[in-house]
Amino acid sequence: MGAVRAAAYEGATPRRPPLLSRVTPYLFVLPAVALVAVVMAYPFLYSVYLSFFRNTSDSFRQTFTGLGNYQVVFTDPVFYLDVRNTLVWTVGSTAAGMLLGLAAAVAVNNLKVLRGPVRAALLMPYVVGYVVASYAWLWLYQSDYGLIDGELIAWHLIKDPILFLTSINLALPSLILTNVWKTFPFAMLMLLAGLQNVPEQLLMAARLDRATAWRTFWEVTIPAIRPVLLVTMMLLTLQNFNSFTIPWVMTGGSPLHHSEVITNYIYNQAFTDHKFGLAAATSCVTSILLMGFAVVYVRTLTRAGVSR
């Protein structure tokens, strides 16, 4: 699509462009490229460089250690646990977020009245940010003075408090729920717009064919919003993989790293253990894992982009 657009634009200039306008595109992108080079490319490369060094025994200087840091990373059971947690977190949050977002989008789309206020109410979790969300849900989940356990016990539904944040099986799911609460509004927003852009003719044709609402939904609506679904899913996955705040604030990794994601792990290596080289190595490994996903991501985005 970009190529088509560019051609349409450039076809307009009648003569062969002078030197300045051959250089012009580069001038347009120069500031951005320069900044990206400074704040992203350089740190990334420096990070790779750092990963081959480790602290000396007085943790003051760095000495070359070759692949030593990588060895440490790959032999650390906590690393594998955290990768597993990150995958569960990402997939779980994205799936639940998409489902909830879709349900919300469909429901709001069908609203005849009060659409604005309802939509606004549903967007609140998105607007207030991760930090506020973390503290709010931390309170809700607290097993000694939190609201959820308090109400469940007051209504005699349970006798002992449910350990949302301190039991190995419940900690990560509890955090995922918080994340879903925080991110489903974004999915709703995107999907709502997608729903509203479904061509009326398609829906009318389905109605004329006397298709049920359910069949219409599955066989007409969903395929029609497929690009939006894909893009939203990609964005959500990305955002979730990069998450730091919710696990950090709510549990700090307790219990026993079962609620820890890889970003927390790296932060600890760098700023608690002061092992910058090791943190860099873990970052690089994580980046490589992401590369595979990145290829799919970029290709999907541009495929969705060049469909015109």
Binding site: R54, N55, S57, D58, S59, F60, R61, V72, Q142, S143, D144, Y145, D160, P161, L163, L165, T166, I168, T251, G252, G253, S254, P255, L256, H257, N268, F271, T272, D273, H274, K275
Partner: protein, 446 residues
């Protein structure tokens, strides 16, 4: 009233602030009082970190850092105040890359890193004018290089503190326990906890067992030491920090005690695995926990926030081997590359002088220079600080945190991990302790 130090300040601190608004002149000269040497000149740079949110401490810092350059008009004095969280990386980077000042004040646990890196200047106590016996022996230890048998000091302590056991007399009474007698041993603590839980339905002991959190080892290590366990040889008179002893029977016994309280008796709060001290303090204030281990300033805060609670404080329980507590505080160090050593010593002399040392200890600590114990400022503080006498008594039993560069990792991660493994029944106490020993050995290598 909020759950912050401000409410405490309003009551007691105001008096102290008012009194200290008049610098040194307001106090009667105590023995060994400090007389400024006004001839000293040159540049002097000092890095410190703010006592916030202790408003009294902040006021004392401001008073001192205004007073010192006033008294030494020939010194070009530059003082930078940092926040606690990123102070350590700043120190590391500046000592490594240049830009470190003449004097820095650091937390006790950080000193060993800089001592081992050889960037500090040895301190001559004669030049300072304070005898070694004025300082706590554990405090001096934190300023030595363990592999240097000469015992050269690379810093001096600025303030020291230790924790104590605080309990709710009303809840003791409700459980049929003598409200004036704390549990004498750690075993008793567990029994008291169970009894309180059975009789009142509330947690007896407020347990701190959060991962990646310094509060946890501060409260677990005393139990470990009391049973005779230790990480290295920190229980000996001159530790060398070489032999790993964390998988000893004493550690196992302490882990079993915690396991009993959390899993068997279920006498602690259910969220212990996610609890740091502030969480326990909140429960204590709500009378949902009867006992907690904390600083005297926390106790005072509790009293201010919920005066209904009948507070009491006492020494930490004994174990079969000893009574122990974590030795806390801060040290001053002089940069090896300092160009104005005379001014540096002058500064330290001023800070360590009895009245100032007492005042600068703020509300959470006590003077490192024990000559300050009889200074007017300290006597005033004792009147206003609840249970300060208890905590001064506890300092005697202080044992040092691991004074090695892997210390932060061992303290903040190895120990809580070991504890959580046992509490979550992921490992037996012996297995957890052995795994911890392996982890300590590993982190000592890299």
């Amino acid at each position: 009233m909020g759950l912050t130090r401000r409410s405490f300040i309003k009551a007691g601190g105001a008096a102290l602030i008012g009194a200290s608004a008049i610098p040194q002149r307001g106090w009667a000269a105590a023995a060994g009082e400090y007389a400024p040497n006004k001839t000293i000149s040159g540049d002097l740079g000092v890095w410190d970190w703010s006592a916030a949110p202790d408003n009294y401490g902040v006021a004392q810092q401001q008073a001192f850092y205004n007073w010192f350059p006033e008294q030494h008009p020939k010194i070009k004095f530059r003082m930078t105040m940092y926040g606690y969280t990123d102070y350590l990386p700043k120190l590391e980077i500046s000592f490594r890359g240049g830009g470190a000042p003449d004097i820095v004040r650091v937390a006790i646990a950080w000193s060993s890193e800089f001592i081992n890196a050889g960037v500090l200047r040895p301190i001559d106590l004669n030049q300072l004018g304070i005898p070694a016996t004025n300082f706590w022996p554990q405090a001096l230890q934190t300023n030595q290089n363990p592999s240097d048998p000469s015992g050269t000091l690379y810093g001096i302590p600025s303030n020291n503190e230790a924790m104590m056991l605080v309990w709710n007399k009303g809840m003791f009474r409700a459980a049929g326990l003598d409200p004036d007698k704390p549990p004498a041993t750690w075993d008793d603590l567990a029994s008291y906890s169970k009894r309180i839980k059975d009789k009142t339905g509330q947690a007896g002991f407020g347990m701190v067992a959060k991962l990646n959190n310094g509060n946890t080892p501060f409260r677990f290590a005393p139990a470990m030491w009391a049973y005779g366990g230790s990480i290295f040889d920190e229980l000996t008179a001159k530790p060398t920090w070489k032999e790993v002893r964390i998988d000893s029977p004493g550690t196992v016994a302490a882990l079993q005690l915690y396991d009993r309280m959390y899993n068997v008796d279920k006498s602690v709060q259910s969220s212990a695995l996610d609890s740091a001290q502030p969480d326990v303090a909140n429960l204590f204030l709500a009378e949902k926990a009867a006992m907690m281990i904390c600083h005297p300033s926390d106790a005072a805060l509790a009293h201010q926030t919920n005066p209904k609670i009948e507070l009491a404080a006492g020494l930490l329980p004994m174990g079969p081997a000893r009574r122990a507590v974590v030795f806390g505080g801060s040290n001053f160090h002089i940069n090896k590359n300092s160009t104005n050593v005379d001014a540096a010593y002058e500064f330290l002399r001023a800070y360590e002088s009895p009245n100032w040392n007492a005042r600068l200890a703020g509300l959470g600590s006590n003077p490192a220079n024990r000559a300050a114990n009889n200074a007017p400022a300290q006597i005033e503080r004792n009147k206003l600080l609840l249970f300060n006498d208890v905590t001064i008594e506890m300092v005697k039993y202080g044992v040092n945190v691991p004074l090695v560069s892997a210390g932060a990792h061992i303290w903040n991660e190895t120990i809580p991990t070991m504890l959580q493994k046992v509490l979550l029944k992921q490992a037996s106490p012996q297995e957890a302790a052995s795994a911890a020993a392996a982890d300590v050995k590993q982190s000592m290598k890299s």
